[in-house]
Assembly symmetry: C2
C-alpha cells in the first residue's frame, strides 16, 4: 500500500494557449461563464485544446456502519443491503441517470452486512468486513482494514483506467455514513461539529440533537487521531476509505474526477490532506442540500456545476452533471472561432 | 391574429396522485430536490405520471435593432447577420449544445438586415422588416409589424407541434436587444430602469452610463404605451415579438417550454401579461449573469435549473439544461418504488 500518492499538480505551461482558444470562440469574452472555466480545466488535465472524455464510469462503494447501533440514522441499517440490491436491479436514481447519460455504473461491496450473487453485471465484491466497528467505542477500522478498503478503490480505478476510461465519478451507499463524513469534516476543516452535522436522510430535531451528542462523544473518544490516515481509520467508513484510495489513484492517473455529495466530498478532504494536488483533477458536480456540504465546498474553494437541493448521495449528482462536461469539450472541439466564422469582434 | 391567447392553467386534479408516485421512489422523501418539482410539473403539463419528451426543438429568432444607431451595444450591428451565418454553418454555441443533447435547431430570420440563402437546412425566412425602427424617435414596430412577427412565432411553434414536438425552447440573436429587454422589463415589472439595464455583451462603465441615458429617453418618449401589446410594439424587437407569439402558442398547445436568457425572459414577461397561465408551462433553464435577469426571475417567482454565470443568449441555456428534463422524466418512468424494490422506508 502506497499512502504517499504521487499526484502531480496540473501542468499549466500551456494555459495561456488553451485560454486563447476559448477566447476566440464566437461569443462575447467569458460569455459561457463557468463552462469556460470547466473547459480550461479539462484542457489542462488532458493537455490538449480538444480534450475528449472516454468510457466514463461511476463507481459506487457500499458499506455498513457500526455506529448505526447508536441511532444516528433515519433509516434502518438493512437499507444499505436493500439499496445495493436495488442498484443491481437497475432501479435506483443513480442507475437511471447513468443509463441516461452514458456512464458505466460499477457497484462495489466493500463492507455491506449481507451477501450478494457475485456474478451480477456491474458488481464487484471487495468486502473487507461486514461494516465498520462502532466508533463510539473503538476505531471504525483497523489500519489493515482501512488500507484494504483504500486498495479496493485504487484497484477498481486502475482497472477502468486500463480500459480507456479517463473520467470517473464516485458515489456511495451506507446507512450512517453522514456521521463519518461530518466527523472527518470537523477534524480536517476545524469547523465546529454543529456546523458539520446535518439531518442525513431525514432526521427530525430531536434525532438531530441526539446525533450531534453521539458524534461529539465519538470525536472526543478519538481525540488522539491526527494524521489523515489516523482520522480515516478512526472515523471513516469502508466505502469512504475506498473512495479516498480511488481518488488518489484517479489523480495519479491524471483522470478527470467527478465529485458529488457530502460523503464523497468528505473522502476528498482526506485525499487532499494526503496529496493536495488531488484537488486539481476534481470537477464539483452538485452542492448538496445537506447543511455541511456548502461549507466543505467553501473549504475546498469549489464552485459546483449544479445546485438542485438534492441530498441523495449515490453519486447521483455526478451522473446528472456529466452532460455539462460533454458540453465543455464539445465547445472546445466544435465551436467556430471569430476568424473561421467571419464574425466581427467587439468594437 | 388572436392576441387573446386561450391558455389554460395547469389541470391540478391529479397532482396528489403524481406527487405520491414521486414520493414512493427509492430515495429519502424530497431527496431529489428541484428535480422532483420539475418531474411534477412535467407530469402536470402532460397529465401522466410517466411523461415523455418528444422531438425537442429550439427556435432561434434573429432580428436587428434600429436603436443600435445610438451606440448601445459593444458589438457592431453587422454581427447579427454574421452570427446567423454562423448558426447556419453549425459553429455557434447553440449549434454545438443542440447537437450534443439532441434538440432540433431552427433559425428564423424575422428581421435581419441582410439576406440568406433560403434553402439552408434548419433555416426559416419570415422577415417582417430589415430590423426595428430607432425607438428613440418612433415606435420600434408598427402594430402590423409586431403582429406579423408574433404570427411568425405562432406559426413556427404550431408547425413543429404538428410534427410531434412537445417540448420547445426559445433563443434569439439581435445586436442591441438587451436594450429592448431592459425597457420591457422596466415597464412591466416597474423596477427602476437602472436595475434593468446591464452590460449586454460587454459594455464598460462609460458605455453603460450612456446606454442608461439613451434608454431613459426612449422610455420617456413612449410613456403613453401601457398595454402589453403597446409596450411590445413601442419597445420590443421583431425577434422578441416572435418569441412572445411562440410562447403563447406553445402554452396554448400545452407544450413544455424552455425559458433561458435575459431577452427570451423579457418576452415571457410580455406573454405572461397577455395570458398569465403561460407561466405554468415554463421550465426556467439558466439564470444569466446579466444583472437584470435575476430580478426578472424573482418577479416571475422562478428558480432556474442552472446558474453557470453565462450571458450568451441564443437559447444556449435551454440546450444545456435539457438533459435535466430528461433526467426528471427518466426518474418517473424508470426508478423503482420502495414496494417494487423491497426497500424499507424511514423508521
Amino acid at each position: 500500500m502506497n499512502q504517499t500518492a504521487h499526484v502531480s499538480p496540473l501542468d499549466r505551461s500551456r494555459q495561456a494557449e488553451f485560454q486563447q482558444v476559448i477566447d476566440q470562440k464566437t461569443k462575447p469574452l467569458g460569455a459561457l461563464g463557468q463552462l469556460e472555466a470547466l473547459a480550461l480545466q479539462l484542457a489542462l488535465i488532458r493537455q490538449t485544446s480538444t480534450p475528449t472524455l472516454s468510457n466514463p464510469h461511476l463507481l459506487v462503494f457500499a458499506a455498513d456502519h457500526g455506529l448505526t447501533a447508536e441511532g444516528v440514522s433515519a433509516y434502518p441499517a438493512a437499507v444499505t443491503y436493500q439499496m445495493v440490491l436495488n442498484f443491481l436491479a437497475g432501479g435506483a436514481a443513480v442507475n437511471v441517470f447513468c443509463r441516461q447519460n452514458g456512464l458505466q455504473l460499477v457497484v462495489c461491496d466493500v463492507g455491506v452486512n449481507g451477501s450478494f450473487a457475485e456474478n451480477a453485471p456491474g458488481f464487484v465484491k471487495y468486502k473487507v468486513a461486514p461494516g465498520t466497528r462502532n466508533m463510539r467505542h473503538e476505531q471504525a477500522m483497523t489500519p489493515d482494514e482501512c488500507e484494504a478498503a483504500m486498495d479496493a478503490g485504487r484497484t477498481l480505478v486502475d482497472g477502468v483506467h486500463h480500459r480507456d476510461c479517463n473520467v470517473i465519478g464516485f458515489g456511495e451507499m451506507g446507512i450512517g455514513n453522514t456521521s463519518s463524513a461530518a466527523l472527518l469534516m470537523h477534524r480536517i476543516t476545524k469547523l465546529p461539529l454543529s456546523q458539520c452535522v446535518g439531518r442525513g436522510t431525514g432526521l427530525d430535531d430531536t434525532q438531530l440533537t441526539h446525533k450531534l451528542a453521539v458524534l461529539q462523544a465519538v470525536s472526543d473518544r478519538h481525540a488522539d487521531a491526527q494524521t489523515p490516515m489516523e482520522l480515516l481509520t478512526a472515523l471513516g467508513g469502508l466505502e469512504i476509505a475506498a473512495i479516498v484510495g480511488g481518488m488518489l489513484q484517479a489523480a495519479q492517473n491524471k483522470m478527470v474526477m467527478l465529485v458529488d455529495g457530502f460523503i464523497a466530498t468528505s473522502a476528498l478532504l482526506v485525499a487532499q490532506a494526503i496529496a493536495p494536488s488531488v484537488r486539481d483533477y476534481c470537477v464539483f458536480c452538485h452542492q448538496s442540500d445537506e447543511a455541511g456540504h456548502r461549507l466543505m465546498l467553501d473549504f475546498l474553494q469549489a464552485k459546483p456545476l449544479l445546485k438542485l437541493d438534492m441530498r441523495l448521495g449515490e453519486g447521483s449528482g455526478c451522473a446528472l452533471a456529466y452532460p455539462l462536461l460533454q458540453s465543455a469539450t464539445a465547445m472546445l472541439s466544435e465551436m467556430a472561432s471569430f476568424a473561421s466564422a467571419g464574425v466581427s469582434e467587439k468594437v
